[in-house]
């Protein structure tokens, strides 16, 4: 038997960004799982809507537009510091990563606080029939995501400030940004369903 040839990989870099990184695929998996859950919850909303003569049911007014719309704008605006944090991470620029992660956190605090007002202006408690249940479920599902997004970004930011900061942490910053995009963009259809579907149907 002849001696095998070798493929020396020692010169390859010890990490990579974007779809080349393993964690990107992990994040993508989470996005598929949670995107499916959102999609099915929206499906359940319209299914339940077919069961009632009027939607929202008689005597219930649709959610107030104000806080939901304000929060949508805040969420959209948060994509700017999020993108800047992502770009800084790809350049392994610790100073800018720290700045933009901190700005992201300010936004996250803002949209979590505004979310409380959104719940208060749904104009119905969750136990008042199926319409109320599914509206609270949709808003609750998304709220879980903005709370966890705030918490994991906060832990990541803390790590970037107090260290030890290794290169592969910058990949984590980028993946965090990818997940942030998902949380913001998934909100848009949910916003449309919660706030506009009862007005247009």
């Amino acid at each position: 038997m002849s001696e095998p040839r070798t493929l020396d990989v020692s010169a390859l870099p010890p990490g990579a960004f974007g779809p080349r990184a393993l964690t990107f695929w992990g994040t993508l998996g989470i996005v598929i799982i949670e995107g499916t859950a959102f999609g099915l919850a929206v499906g359940a909303y319209f299914y339940l809507a077919t069961r009632l003569p009027s939607w929202p049911p008689a005597g219930v007014s649709p959610p107030d537009l104000r806080w939901g719309t304000i929060n949508t704008l805040v969420l959209l605006a948060s994509m700017v510091p999020n993108e800047l944090a992502r770009r800084a991470a790809e350049k392994i620029d610790l100073r800018r990563v720290r700045i933009w992660l901190a700005v992201c956190l300010v936004f996250a605090v803002a949209f979590n606080v505004i979310r409380i007002f959104e719940f208060r202006h749904l104009n119905v408690w969750w136990n008042r029939g199926a319409y109320a249940s599914i509206v609270w479920m949709l808003l609750g599902l998304h709220s879980t995501h903005i709370v966890t997004d705030f918490l994991d970004s906060a832990v990541l930011a803390a790590l970037m400030f107090v260290g030890p900061v290794e290169e592969h942490r910058f990949v984590d910053v980028e993946e965090n940004a990818v997940y942030w995009y998902f949380v913001v963009l998934a909100w848009l259809p949910i916003y449309g369903v919660i706030y506009w579907a009862p007005r247009l149907m």
Partner: protein, 645 residues
């Protein structure tokens, strides 16, 4: 590689010995083994419950088991077999073998997989402790409202079911993500997508189905718990909710679930058929595309479980058509297996006997499936023993027979010992005979009108003889499983040592020792063809240059598996267990009060921070990364000496 270097490499990849470190293990072979053993343990428990049911039904007007206990037994049996045996055992095989088959030293996200195992284990313990406390679920494995609503089930039994679902779904989602990433990013150089072993394809396709199907049942069970705990009204018709919403959500998961169990089974069959026909798989592309097609179509026929609910006729026709069409990709695979065997030289070793058993049983189950896809027949047979017979033929035929084949095939690799050919032939024969004796009469009973889920029946109905026959068959099946356990214990104690490749098979798990050394591959092989151990050149390149002092793996590109970068994997860690304990606390607490979710999440958060926080500065490697990473030349632009890989 010198002996000292190999020792250092194996030391790095060993999970430390000792009782305390047992809880920190992350190695995919350790976790895979635990998954397989635990899932088989639940198979035995579910089997004991089945035996109790057959004992009760063996003669008319029997009073061994009370109706209330009988309800708990059949619900726990079904729940166990679906959620604690069939899905986890297939994923356990994936955890163990997908990394080996793609030539990787570890599964992607090993700590996540360890966490997944603990969640699965704790969920199973939770179910059985509840069962022993007389709080076992009793509303059927699909837990239909309104029966499962608090008005009709005021006890915690339905909550136990719903929360068990959450445990097992978390576990299988975590494994699914890890398996997809492993198969996409950790394949050894040369293993392009069209050289991926069919078993790995089956695991990937299954994992994608898990990602899309499991959220449906999690949403459904969460809504059910909300209905029961905080007075929402998703499924409550009196408050404009709709029990049919549950059925839609449940079967949007529940039907793909059948394929989540069956597709890995077909992956096993393809592997065994190729190995024991001594030739490469006939119609590789057709088989892989059939797997993908089955997965897609599997999401388009959930409504055939709901024909008896009075749906619009157009819907019924659509789902009938879809249910019949899905026979096409399955048929394609069966013809490819036949062609492989026909044109090969079949060696009838024990694993291959299980494949033959699979053909017989599964084809019959498929035929009754096509029958049940027809609305008039389904309306007649709905909720009868015909359906019980049908899905046991599909699931035991489609999953358990291939699985036993897989046990016999891969046991030497996992343990380093051979199982007995003689005993194996007996186990296979007994299970085949016992299975048909048990379940074939159920077709007839169903046609005679015997409903499922009744704890007894009157003698005047004339169902006694066939039921007795089924119960005797169950006893034969139990003997087969006992004999298998005897063989396993015998082999572990005195079995013949297994060589590296006892079956002369072609995939990479056979390219290393039985059982594999801690590093899996001292020199990771590259791949020169679809069947590496048959196709590789004698001087096929091996991968060198990975670090030996940390768990470093080679990450490759998705499509063509060209080397891309190196990545250091985590060392053993206690945090997956701590996080699983915290999650378990939250899940159980939330059955009793909604505040359990709020307060129970705090320990989970703390545990996850502990998991994430860096432990040692060497974890991430010490060399600086090139800034211009996007333009880094790939190694293929500097061809390896001496040709292609």
């Amino acid at each position: 590689m010198t002996a000292g270097e190999l020792e250092a490499l194996n030391r790095t990849w060993s999970d430390p010995p000792g009782f305390a470190s047992w809880f920190r293990h992350v190695d995919h072979r350790t976790i895979g083994r635990r998954y397989l053993v635990t899932a088989f343990g639940f198979f035995l428990l579910g089997g004991i419950l089945a035996a109790l049911m057959r004992l009760q039904l063996s003669r008319p007007d029997n009073t061994i088991i009370t109706p209330d206990l009988y309800n708990q037994i059949f619900t726990t049996h079904g729940t166990t077999m679906m959620f604690l045996f069939a899905v986890p055992v297939m994923q356990g095989l994936g955890v163990y073998f997908v990394p080996l088959m793609v030539g990787a030293r570890e599964i992607a996200f090993p700590r996540l997989v360890a966490y997944s195992y603990w969640m699965f284990l704790f969920g199973g313990i939770f179910l059985y402790v509840s069962f022993l406390l007389n709080a076992g679920p009793d509303v059927g494995w699909f837990s239909y409202p309104p029966l499962a609503e608090s008005l009709y089930t005021p006890s915690k039994r339905a909550d136990v079911w719903a929360q068990l679902i959450t445990f097992t779904e978390v576990a299988s989602l975590a494994v699914a993500v890890s398996l997809i990433t492993t198969a996409f990013k950790l394949r050894t150089p040369g293993m392009t997508l069209n050289r991926v072993p069919i078993f790995v394809w089956a695991q990937v396709v299954t994992s994608f189905m898990v990602l899309f199907a499991m959220p449906a049942v999690m949403l459904a069970s969460t809504s059910l718990i909300c209905d029961r705990l905080v007075n929402t009204h998703f499924f409550d018709p009196e408050q404009s909710g709709d029990p049919l919403l549950w059925q839609h959500l449940f079967w949007f998961f529940g039907h793909p679930e059948v394929y989540i169990i069956f597709i890995p089974g077909t992956g096993i069959v393809s592997t065994l058929v190729a190995t024991f026909s001594r030739r490469r798989m006939f119609g590789y592309l057709a088989v892989v595309l059939s797997l993908v097609a089955t997965a897609f179509m599997g999401f388009g026929l959930w409504v055939h479980h709901m024909f008896a609910t009075g749906l619009p006729q157009l819907g019924e026709s659509f789902f009938t058509a879809a249910s019949i069409i899905i026979a096409i990709p399955t048929g394609t695979q069966i013809f490819c297996w036949i062609a492989t065997m026909w044109s090969g030289k079949v060696v009838l070793k024990v694993p291959m006997l299980w494949v033959l058993g699979f053909f017989g049983v599964f084809v019959l189950g498929g035929l009754t499936g096509v029958m049940l896809a027809s609305v008039p027949l389904d309306t007649q047979l709905h909720d009868t023993f015909f359906v019980v017979a049908h899905f046991h033929y599909v699931l035991i035929g489609g999953a358990v027979f291939p699985l036993f084949g897989a046990f016999y095939y891969w046991f030497p690799k996992i343990t380093g010992r051979m199982l007995s050919e003689r005993l194996g032939t007996w186990v296979c024969g007994l299970l085949f005979v016992g299975f048909n004796l048990t379940f074939f009469p159920m077709h007839v009973l169903g046609l005679h009108g015997m409903p499922r889920r009744v704890y007894t029946y009157q003698a005047s109905l004339g169902w006694g003889d066939l039921n007795l026959m089924a119960s005797l068959g169950a006893a034969v099946m139990a003997c087969a499983v006992l004999l298998f356990l005897v063989d396993v214990i015998r082999a572990l104690r005195v079995g013949l040592p297994a060589p590296a490749n006892p079956w002369d098979a072609s995939t990479l798990e056979w390219a290393t020792d039985s059982p594999p050394a801690p590093c899996s591959f001292p020199l990771p092989p590259t791949v020169g063809g679809r069947e590496p151990l048959w196709d590789n050149a004698p001087d096929q390149p091996v991968v060198v240059g990975l670090r030996r002092d940390v768990r470093e793996v080679l990450v490759t590109h998705v499509l063509d598996a060209e080397p891309d970068h190196r990545k250091v994997f985590p060392a053993p860690s206690i945090w997956p267990l701590v996080t699983a304990i915290a999650t378990t606390g939250m899940f159980i607490w939330s059955i009793f009060t909604p505040w359990g979710v709020t307060y129970g999440s705090i320990p989970i958060f703390i545990a996850m921070v502990g998991w994430f926080w860096p432990k040692s500065p060497t974890e991430g490697g010490t060399r600086p990364w090139p800034i211009a990473h996007r333009t880094l030349p790939l190694p293929r632009e500097e061809p390896a000496a001496g040709g292609t890989i």
